[in-house]
């Protein structure tokens, strides 16, 4: 009797805490299951699952940058949709109308995005114009430039090389033939191996140094669930065209920003500024630069998104990217970023973006119109933040 209590006491599994900590992951699963039944299983079709990440790729990329802005104190960037239009428009016009090489166009377009970010970052970081105002200005300015560049027309891109860089599907000779695609599974198995290896080595390291650690059940249980989901997803990709280059871009960006926010000194400064700017400044950190980098970086990623969108849709017009910023902002807040800054993780943002994506896709499959999608999306955003605020209040934060 007493021994039982002791074993559960050492590294106790607390259901309540588990639920609060993983509330959004659980919500994602619930919503997914719900739409699976509502769509009679069509949600899980290989094509739909493949498209889920590709359609929302641009949201994920933007949300990574948006998280940095939000971390600095709940500040958002309203101009990203317009930057997408401007950069996408520029790329389309250069390639289609002027026949400029894509090797020149792509770097040039990303630099233009970065310049837009630098422009805003300068005003926000060094002159201290409120971000809301600055980026509201940017939202109009860059939208205007976008339309000027496009001459208010829709411009499409057929350049195969350009499309290949962003939207082609990977074919590995030997693994993939026209009838049989295996590369996703092979890559999936490699990733799973890496996940297990890193858990084992980190546990061994902790054990050696005598640090406290989770029970093996929790650590490996988590790995097994993640691996199962990953392998299943890879299996689906095998049934539909395989791995898209776009997916690689998105995964790479997410990993890079996860690394920056969790493992680098500069990433930490975003959290510090959002937590207490005065204290951060007195700690010898250039807080102006932190703001500047957050917005310059946002411009850079918005530029990249402009290219991704152009490649995926195939054309750009004057209203491309409208309200995209709201998807990115929504993903961050649904993913648990604090509206006051100072807290939030890339992993949360990914969950947030996927949650919005699943809802969009589920409702589209069911044939529910745009208007209702807006209503549901707004409702989910509000509920997510209410839940976050209330659960923190209960836990006495």
């Amino acid at each position: 009797m007493s021994t039982k209590k002791e074993t559960s006491g050492a590294s106790q599994f607390n259901l309540g805490e588990f639920l609060t900590k993983n509330s959004m992951t659980i919500a994602l699963v619930v919503v997914f299951v719900l739409f699976y039944f509502l769509t009679n299983g069509r949600l899980l079709y290989a094509q739909n699952m493949s498209n889920l990440l590709l359609q929302n790729g641009y949201v994920l990329v933007m949300a990574c940058g948006m998280l940095l802005c939000i971390l600095t104190g709940g500040n958002i960037d309203l101009s990203v949709g317009s930057v997408i239009c401007m950069v996408g428009g520029l790329a389309a016009v250069l390639i289609t109308n002027h026949g400029v090489s894509i090797f020149l166009t792509i770097p040039l377009c990303i630099i233009v995005g970065l310049l837009a970010g630098i422009w805003q970052g300068y005003w926000i970081g060094y002159v201290r114009i409120p971000p809301f105002i600055t980026t509201l200005g940017g939202m109009f300015i860059f939208r205007g430039f976008g339309r000027l560049i496009l001459d208010s027309k829709t411009v499409s891109v057929q350049d195969a090389a350009f499309l290949n860089i962003f939207t082609a599907y990977i074919k590995i000779p030997g693994l993939d033939t026209d009838t049989r695609i295996l590369s996703p599974l092979v890559i999936g198995v490699v990733v799973v191996a890496i996940i297990f290896y890193s858990t084992i080595s980190s546990r061994a390291k902790k054990a050696k140094k005598g640090y406290r650690q989770n029970s093996a059940l929790v650590d490996f249980g988590r790995d097994i669930i993640i691996s199962a989901v990953l392998l299943f997803y890879c299996y689906l990709l095998c049934q539909y065209k395989g791995i898209s280059v776009m997916l690689l871009w998105v995964v790479a960006i997410c990993l890079i920003y996860h690394f920056i926010t969790s493992k680098t000194a500069f990433g930490r400064y975003f959290y510090a500024v959002g937590g207490n700017e005065k204290a951060t400044k007195l700690s010898g950190i250039n807080t102006n630069k932190v703001y500047f980098i957050a917005y310059a970086n946002m411009g850079l990623l918005a530029g990249l998104c402009g290219l991704l969108c152009l490649a995926r849709v195939g054309s750009v017009n004057g209203s491309t990217g409208t309200s995209f910023e709201m998807d990115a902002i929504g993903s961050c807040f649904i993913g648990g970023a604090s509206a006051y800054g100072g807290s939030g993780k890339i992993s949360g943002v990914i969950i947030g973006a996927l949650l919005l994506g699943v809802i969009n896709m589920g409702m589209s499959i069911m044939g529910i119109g745009d208007s209702w999608q807006y209503v549901v999306k707004g409702g989910v955003l509000l509920v997510a933040v209410i839940f976050d605020v209330v659960s923190h209040r209960k836990s006495g934060k």
């Binding site: 493992k263 005065k278 204290a279 007195l282 700690s283 010898g284 950190i285 100072g342």
Partner: protein, 511 residues
Amino acid sequence: MADIILEMKSITKEFPGVKALDNVNLAVERGEIHALIGENGAGKSTLMNVLSGTYPVGSYTGEIYYNGDLCQFKTLKDSESKGIVIIHQELALIPLLTIGENMFLGNEKKNKFGSIDWDLTYNEAEKHMRQVGLYESAQTLIKDIGTGKQQLVEIAKAFSKNVKLLILDEPTSSLNDEDAKMLLDLLLEFKKNGLTSIIITHKLNEIIYCADKATIIRDGSTIETLVKGVDEFSEDRIIKGMVGRPMDDRYPTREHKVRKEVSLEVKNWTVYHPLYHEKIVDNNISFQVHKGEVIGFSGLQGAGRTELAMSIFGKSYGSNISGELYLNGQKVELKNPEQAIHHGLAYVTEDRKVNGLILEESIRFNTTLARMDKVCAKGIIDTTAEKNVAEEMTTAMGTKTPSIEQKTGNLSGGNQQKALLGKWMFTEPDILILDEPTRGIDVGAKYDIYCLINQMVEDGKSVIMISSEMPELIGMCDRIYVMNEGELRGELDAKDATQEKIMSYIISAAN
């Protein structure tokens, strides 16, 4: 039989994982000033929150009797309707509203149409302001009056609620000695008119000065109640009750080993206000610190001491700063805090919550923030190294915490101060500037901080200490500079410094 106005019986209050109050008893007689004392985290504020209904009935066990009736307060309003008013350490006034608006906030004076009757509001407000000796217009904005007067507004606000039992949580912690004494005299005045007060404070001299009784709380339990005139009622006696053992020496002794080398010298330093560029905050100040020396800066609030320290620390305050700064004989210009830190300066702020710590983040996060480069390789954090140094600094400072992952916002005042000191000790400063290092923390934690100062100078480093507590400066420093109204008024050797001498420098300056 004594006339008991308030009796709290066997109050026990638990938070998840902690027993904040364990069977606490408190009896307050009508018309007395009752002091509640204890170290930080002893449970004083929790007890008062139980009394005021901030923690509603049912969330604690035990009974509260007020005027002989059993009380079951569910909200703050319930207790206020009985005349129990609590004034918190952090003043709850809104800076951009007038005194009158603040006084009746949530309790507005309305006319028969339901809109605010401004004439009545300001008239009533001024009436209560006169009661506490505040002769300002009720239409003055809160931000335009000093902290001392703001404290008076809070008390006037209590009067507007028809207060019978006034509870003051650290009322003088942000006041200078002069304003503090005025406030205490005011309490004594009210006492004559029959008002009962409970005062929570760390300043023992204030208790001796004004309290009739002192109840000591330690680790969530009542230890004893001392009665003036019956028990021994001295600072030493109270300290003994607070820490559980007599403290023979409040300032640890050290051999004075001031070296010849000057580590920091400031010449003709002048600082202007950051917003009002024509206002001089520090005027033509020159001073020096030797290696192995502790120097103190004494003065009233607003004398320009914090501003001087911050302007030296990488121009983190002020505008149009002129003057010369020498470190180890070398002239330097420190343009920002980063350069100051790399030149071996550390500034530990007087306001740890606003300027010091990131309260939402852990001790680990805060410890390394000022010198991330020490735990980074090419900008990438070595998490193991970071944990190690955080553990190391936490142990070295004696910070009491369940783990280094604890949010600093959840620590008590004394432990927050130690965490903050840990952060700055991690930068390995040669010159440590401490701004009010012991404000609002308990005797035990103070002693630890004094020991740390001694350790610094033992190692040949220099310490600059800004403090409003003169005994502390006299007890700890080698030399004391006295400032008033932005100017340096005098320099004393701590051996012949007395509180009277320091005061006389300040006062002579005023004439």
